[in-house]
């Protein structure tokens, strides 16, 4: 009986929220009010145009520039103007990205160190989960690369877990939280690292001379096409992850603002965050393994 009452209350609150938010252009903020310096709840004027919302979410620097807001500079102004040359007002985006990567790394390290301390030959439930994930990736690498190349497992596992947690952290409902993989720099960097590992394995296996000879494979005139093929591997593997995560985030933002953030965002987060995130992390991992396998069994 009480459960039913709670659900009804929830639905009524939702309906009231929808009715209220139709004509209002205000957003409720919770935290320390910058005007009065007190902790509380207050309203700020907020654009309801979808274009503006998307720009605010995905290009905060461009949004601030369009609104005519000058950034506050802490520290030296010369340094700021020096970095302006490379990134035109890209500071906020970079800050958000690096903050999210640091959060993931710290949480990850804390979990791993905690697990290591409590490890035992009689596994607990948490240890079983981690052993399952490790066994899954270990099966993948040993099946694809062979038993003698099992030393690739920790590297592959790290890629998988990093992308998985990076895709999952977007569903945490804290303002400012975003998937680091939403920014092209992260997948591109990971793709470059994977391709460097592939080339390192190739050089180690066949020597530098044969490695260079591999580029002139059928005959010498095709060497540029082979180089383009190597570059396109990076682009293909990184744009797949980036496009999936960014597309999911934009669809989520647009549809949730159309439905006034009622109930539907939960389901969309489940689909785009958990399902697509897992699949894309798995695909990234499998492609990395298969790139290495192509070099090893060439």
């Amino acid at each position: 009986m009480t459960k039913k009452k709670i659900i009804w209350l929830f639905i009524i609150v939702m309906v009231i929220q929808v009715l209220l938010s139709f004509k209002l252009e205000y957003k409720i903020n919770v935290g320390i009010n910058p005007d009065t310096g007190k902790f509380g709840v207050w309203n700020t004027h907020h654009p309801t145009k979808i274009q503006d919302q998307v720009t605010e979410e995905f290009q905060p620097d461009l949004y601030l520039r369009n609104q005519g807001i000058e950034p506050t500079i802490y520290g030296s102004r010369k340094l700021y103007e020096f970095f302006q040359i490379f990134s035109k007002n890209g500071a906020i985006n970079a800050f958000k990205l690096i903050r999210m990567i640091l959060i993931i790394d710290i949480v990850f390290l804390a979990i791993i160190l905690y697990m290591r301390r409590n490890m035992g030959s009689k596994p607990s439930k948490r240890q079983l989960v981690f052993e399952m994930v490790y066994g899954f990736i270990d099966d993948l690498t040993t099946e694809t690369l062979g038993k003698q190349n099992a030393h690739f497992t920790p590297y592959i596992l790290t890629i998988f877990l990093f992308i998985l947690s990076a895709n999952f952290i977007g569903i945490v409902p804290i303002p400012g939280f975003m998937e680091p993989t939403r920014n092209l720099n992260v997948p591109l960097g990971m793709g470059l690292v994977i391709i460097s590992v592939v080339h390192y394995v190739s050089i180690k296996k066949s020597g530098f001379k044969d490695y260079l000879k591999g580029y002139a494979e059928p005959f010498f005139a095709l060497a540029p096409i082979n180089v383009i093929g190597e570059v396109s591997k990076v682009i293909s593997i990184s744009f797949r992850l980036f496009g999936n995560v960014l597309g999911g985030a934009i669809i989520m933002l647009v549809v949730s603002s159309l439905t006034k953030y009622v109930i539907l965002p939960v389901g969309m987060n489940l689909f785009f965050g958990l399902f697509v995130g897992t699949i894309q992390a798995f695909v990234f991992t499998i492609l990395a393994v298969s790139y290495i396998a192509v070099v090893i069994f060439d």
Binding site: T55, S236, F239, R240, G243, L246
Partner: protein, 81 residues
């Protein structure tokens, strides 16, 4: 100059719409074929259902990449003009 900018923006939006519409056609067909074949495979040997589902999802995710490229280009057209 104002009119030219307007025309350029309209052309970019048209381009984005066509890019998504035509670019989503191929991956959709491909993923449909993959799913159909996986259904046949599961009907033939239900004991391999887990492996088949995994392989199907992987194949679909790889097939989807062309659609994702068109999505990226459409986003570029919309947001960078």
């Amino acid at each position: 100059m104002e009119g030219m900018e307007f025309i350029a923006k309209a052309a970019a939006y048209f381009g984005a719409a066509f890019c998504m519409g035509i670019g989503a056609l191929g991956p959709a067909l491909g993923e449909g074929f993959v799913a159909a074949k996986a259904c046949e495979g599961i009907a033939r040997s239900p004991e391999n259902a887990a492996l088949l589902t995994r392989t199907m999802l992987l194949g679909q995710a790889v097939t989807e990449s062309t659609g994702i490229y068109s999505l990226v280009i459409a986003l570029l057209l919309i947001f960078s003009t």
